[in-house]
Amino acid sequence: MTEMVKADIKKELEKAAQYVKNTGMRVLVCSGTGCVANGAFDIYDQFLKHDTDVMFKKEKKVSSIKTGCRGFCEQGVFVAVPDLDLVYVKVKPEDVPEIIEKTLQNGEIIERLLYEDPVTGQKIQKENDINFYKNQTKAALANCGNIDPESIDEYVATGGYEALDHVIKNYTPEQVCKEVEDSGLRGRGGGGFPTGKKWNFVRINEADQKYVICNADEGDPGAFMDCGIMEGDPHKLLEGMAIAAYGTGSDFGYIYVRAEYPLAVKRLRIAIEEATKRGFLGESIFGSDFSFKIKIKEGAGAFVCGEETALIASIEGDRGMPMPKPPFPANEGLFGKPTLINNVETFANVALIIKKGADWFKGFGTETSKGTKTFALTGEVNNTGLIEVPLGTKLKEIVYDIGGGIRNNKKFKAVQIGGPSGGCLTEEHLDLPLDYESLKSVGAMVGSGGLVVMNEDTCIVEVARFFLQFTQNESCGKCIPCREGTKQMLHILEKVVAGKAELKDIETLTELAEVVRLGSLCGLGKTAPNPVLSTLKYFKDEYMAHIAENRCPAGVCEAFKLIKINPDKCIGCTKCAKVCPVNAIDGKVKEKHVINQEKCIKCGACLTSCPVNAITEGN
């Protein structure tokens, strides 16, 4: 048994504020997964080694702090010094001594490490002057990158756990559900179901045991918002879950985290342990008779486990197969008990709503989509990273103002939103507000919030094939339309990219899509055809080019690639013929050589062998 502690939030806040004050000048080293890959821990260690020196010399306390993701992963590793209103980008371990000597000791700015605006070439010192940040509104991500996720004091100092204390002391569970419903918060995990309503369903169910589950499976490839929250501000998630537990009458929670996020798991474990020690979780929280414990369950790599009924099966230790609904988890969920399932970001909004009020939350967003939403901006844009904007922000603003436009001056082609269940948005949608209804109306969806930007060099048919391969792989195999239908659809798409499809295949493809959509048991199958249908709708001519004209307009698909020898340049040296592994090149010494296209396997070996660059690859 853990010892019972009666937490007093006021005292905790004072203590935490003192703790943060004692850190002195804070040097924030971004340590999200992305920056860790770029050497963030080395940089942190370097600072740590030097901290004490600085202290002695200048009698100035400096603390380096590992934070969660600051969002602008492209420019990592990020080092921020809030006291000097300064951020350095692309910092390397070897830059640390210079930063300490010049910047921390003497307040000098190192120009080389400042962010350079790609358009104006201007060096920028303040984070909020950088376009990527200027155009965002941070709420759920407000703490990410500013606090140490492994220290509960840092979270408490931001006013953390006040909302939990407040609801336990002043609200009935019914009032909690109502406040959340009034805020207009909708599920951030894809479906967009009103959160307060869902809570109320669970609340009104009488049962000896109820569960709260956090869906942290984030299976959509190209999305890492939930990862960012768990790595950067895990207590916000725990507090949201505890408020939900109080509101629904539950005393036990699970966080189901995907296996690919080891850092998130580590930080969540530390957070749960610390919160339990302080008495914010566990038995009689804040001296009340409300108890709530949280356990982490690690997934094992199955996309379908993000679906709520499959997730429940997986927590129970079974194969993660979805079940027909009803019964809904709110009535019969984990171990047959009423269960609330929400997404990480949904929970991360809760404490803020309680603290600042439903009206504050409603101040962001559109008529039906309230609040802010995080998106993972990736692919062929200049500024990739984790962003947060009010729902209803236009696609254009995200791609150009925040994203800084398309990389290498290429042309914008499309944005894939919502992952394997979503669709693509094209140039004509640049003015489309990103909210639940608008996206649905054009055959896409908010989904989890992965935005993958594609340029003119991306073959849209290949992307559709990629998504279908993904869903086909991840189909659990329980229902036939999904298991077999996606296989047949994939087969057709493979034929298209291999240049072997006929016109009537497209008809079959559309027909199959309808069957899979209507006949599948769970959301995975129901939405699997979306990427195909939406690309067929907006890029039909690209499909046609593959089928009728034997070419891939983006020049991606291997099957349409031709390797040719320019007869004007060829000097007949025979080098290419010698390296060709399939003897596809004919020609005698000092005569022009020719590639036999029937035999050529497009390995490209001849390309590098030619001393006069006479061989080229093209469409």
């Binding site: 997964t33 992305g34 860790v36 890959a37 770029n38 992963c73 492209e74 990592g76 984030e218 299976g219 959509d220 490839p221 190209g222 999305a223 890492f224 990862c227 296996a259 690919e260 996020y261 369950k297 690690e298 997934g299 094992a300 790599g301 199955a302 996309f303 997986s314 927590i315 129970e316 230790g317 079974d318 194969r319 993660g320 993972a376 901006l377 990736t378 692919g379 062929e380 990739t384 990273g385 984790l386 894939q416 992952g419 992965g450 993958v452 594609m454 991306t458 992307v463 990629f466 998504f467 659990c476």
Partner: protein, 174 residues
Amino acid sequence: MVAEAKKNQEKIFEKHRKFCKVNEIVEKYKYEKQNLIAILQEVQTEYRYLPEEIMTYIATMMDISPAAVYGVATFYSQFSLDPKGKYEIKVCDGTACHVRGSMPVYNAIREKVGLQEGKFTTDDLQFTVETVRCLGACALAPVVVINGKVYSKMTADAVKIIVDELLKRSENDN
């Protein structure tokens, strides 16, 4: 008859000794069915894959059918029923990595370590090369993870240098 029983018992004891670590793990999770996935995860960390006899053994210990254990082990992509190489190279093939060219990187690695079509682990059990699901570092695509270390913004050329280094190391080890 007695001798027979004794022989059987000896067999069981021997298995027990061999599977000592497994016993510890299953015990730690209190033989609970809901912890099966966690148990298999820890066992796999220990053995680098899930040997068939160990799965059967776990089933017996937990009093569930071997089919149930096998069912879970084959459902989740994290589990491997084949031995893995000493260096596990995972190439992310999530959307962000895919559109920024993860496949050329993957093919370059396969070629470098000499994997034949349809194989994922080299015969000398040095290298396993696989594509994996999104790793959450999409902004730095394409991403490759080698024994837990993340390499970002990979290209076919860059990855070849890294693999060369590993090849050298694995030669020295042998």
